[in-house]
């Protein structure tokens, strides 16, 4: 299985943990993720203004590049997934914007949204398959009660993202089950963590995070997993500043658990020869 892979800025810096674990697990699962050459930052937020085209041109370039290889484009960062998928949706559905973007980019061939953008979780669910994944697990996380946290970017807006049932998703729980863990259902799993508000309004975010953490705790969670570097930061750092004081729910990237369950955690990666 071979896919184009779009890493994004955060994965190359503060969320290196997410990328490393994901890539390691992918190799172990026999998935080839070919990092795009000369990828550019997706812009982190999808431009909401109808008239703004420039901010997502870099995304379109990545999408077009993936189309050339004819492969699905895999993302790991929830923000990159969100931006690329929405940019692609616009290219597919809005003729006007599509024409303008093409005119601007002057690609060798017109791009009209032909690439399929998928998230690493979707890769696991649809390409690998959770049953297969479960079979490949070497160290099942049996007995661990883990709460999945989806956040916003994977799920919403539902009409465009079509990632899972937006109000009642199950992909991360299914993933946890595949790893042998017990998934904790709690009401706040699709709430917003506060995103970038942490830059300016830390107190608001701390309150939002507290609700999430408390909800997970009260439903018996021993840890929380997420798929987004920003959620990860907020949940991890700001739970220390929750009004109720310090709480200690560990926060993992979902790929960390994957790495662990596949028993890759402490192994030094063999150099891949390309």
């Amino acid at each position: 299985m071979r896919f184009s892979y779009y890493p994004g800025c955060t994965l190359k810096t503060t969320a290196a943990l997410l990328e490393n674990s994901a890539l390691k697990a992918a190799r172990a699962l026999g998935i080839e993720l070919i990092e795009q050459e000369k990828w550019q930052c997706c812009g982190a937020v999808f431009p909401l203004a109808a008239l703004e085209i420039a901010p997502f041109l870099s995304s379109v370039r990545s999408l077009a590049a993936a189309k050339d290889t004819g492969e699905k484009l895999v993302t790991i960062c929830a923000a990159c997934y969100h931006v690329l998928k929405r940019a692609n949706h616009v290219m597919k559905t809005d003729r006007d914007v599509c024409t303008k973007a093409n005119n601007y980019l002057q690609l060798p061939e017109q791009y009209r949204g032909g690439t399929e953008v998928i998230h690493y979780l979707e890769l696991l669910r649809d390409e690998v398959g959770f049953p297969t994944l479960a079979r490949k697990v070497k160290k099942p996380l049996t007995g661990r009660k883990i709460a999945a946290f989806y956040g916003c970017l994977l799920l919403r807006p539902p009409a465009v993202m079509q990632f899972d049932n937006a109000e009642n998703p199950s992909i991360m729980e299914d993933f946890l089950h595949a790893l042998g863990a017990a998934a904790v259902d709690y009401p706040y799993r699709t709430e917003c963590c506060g995103v970038y508000l942490s830059v300016q309004n830390e107190e608001i975010v701390a309150e939002m995070v507290a609700k999430i953490i408390n909800s997970a705790l009260s439903h018996g969670a021993e840890a929380i997993v997420d798929a987004c570097p920003l959620c990860h930061y907020n949940l991890l750092e700001l739970q220390k500043k929750t009004p109720q004081g310090k709480s200690t729910l560990p926060v993992y990237y979902f790929t960390e658990l994957l790495e662990e369950a596949l028993d890759l955690k402490d192994k030094v990666e063999e150099k891949m020869a390309f």
Partner: protein
């Protein structure tokens, strides 16, 4: 309060419609956006009121509220709106009007080193910059 046709169809109202691509008349004030909003408690004008204000042409109040800066674009409201109104898009339009016209920045330069030091992901910084500055 006096309501005039000029207010209702002022150029700025049109501009908001143009930037967001949304028709505020679509909203019938069911309040689901507000009910869905995770940060509604710290907003001075509630999400459904933002639409109502726009329907009434009261743009000035919106440009001076904190709501548009607090909205985190989590899209919960947009996903649940029975009328398919994209409120985050409208919030963005309101922000852009300020950011474009006055060239001001909502972000204080001082915070950057502080937060960056804490290992805050680039994603957070970039989005904050994208939302708060031009």
């Amino acid at each position: 309060m006096k309501i005039t046709r000029d207010n209702l169809c002022s150029s700025i109202v049109k501009e908001i419609a143009e930037i967001s691509g949304e028709n505020v008349a679509g909203c019938y004030q069911c309040g689901k956006c507000t009910a869905a909003c995770p940060v509604n408690t710290v907003m001075d004008i509630l999400p459904h009121q933002v639409l109502r204000f726009l329907q009434l042409g009261l743009v000035e109040a919106l440009l001076n509220c904190n709501t548009i800066w607090i909205c985190a674009s989590c899209f919960t409201c947009a996903g649940r709106c029975p009328r398919g109104v994209d409120l985050p898009g409208i919030m963005e339009a309101l922000r852009l009007i300020l950011l474009r016209k006055r060239g001001f920045s909502r972000i204080k330069a001082g915070v950057i080193p502080r937060v960056a030091d804490k290992g805050m992901p680039e994603q957070a910084l970039v989005s904050a910059f994208r939302k708060y500055t031009r």
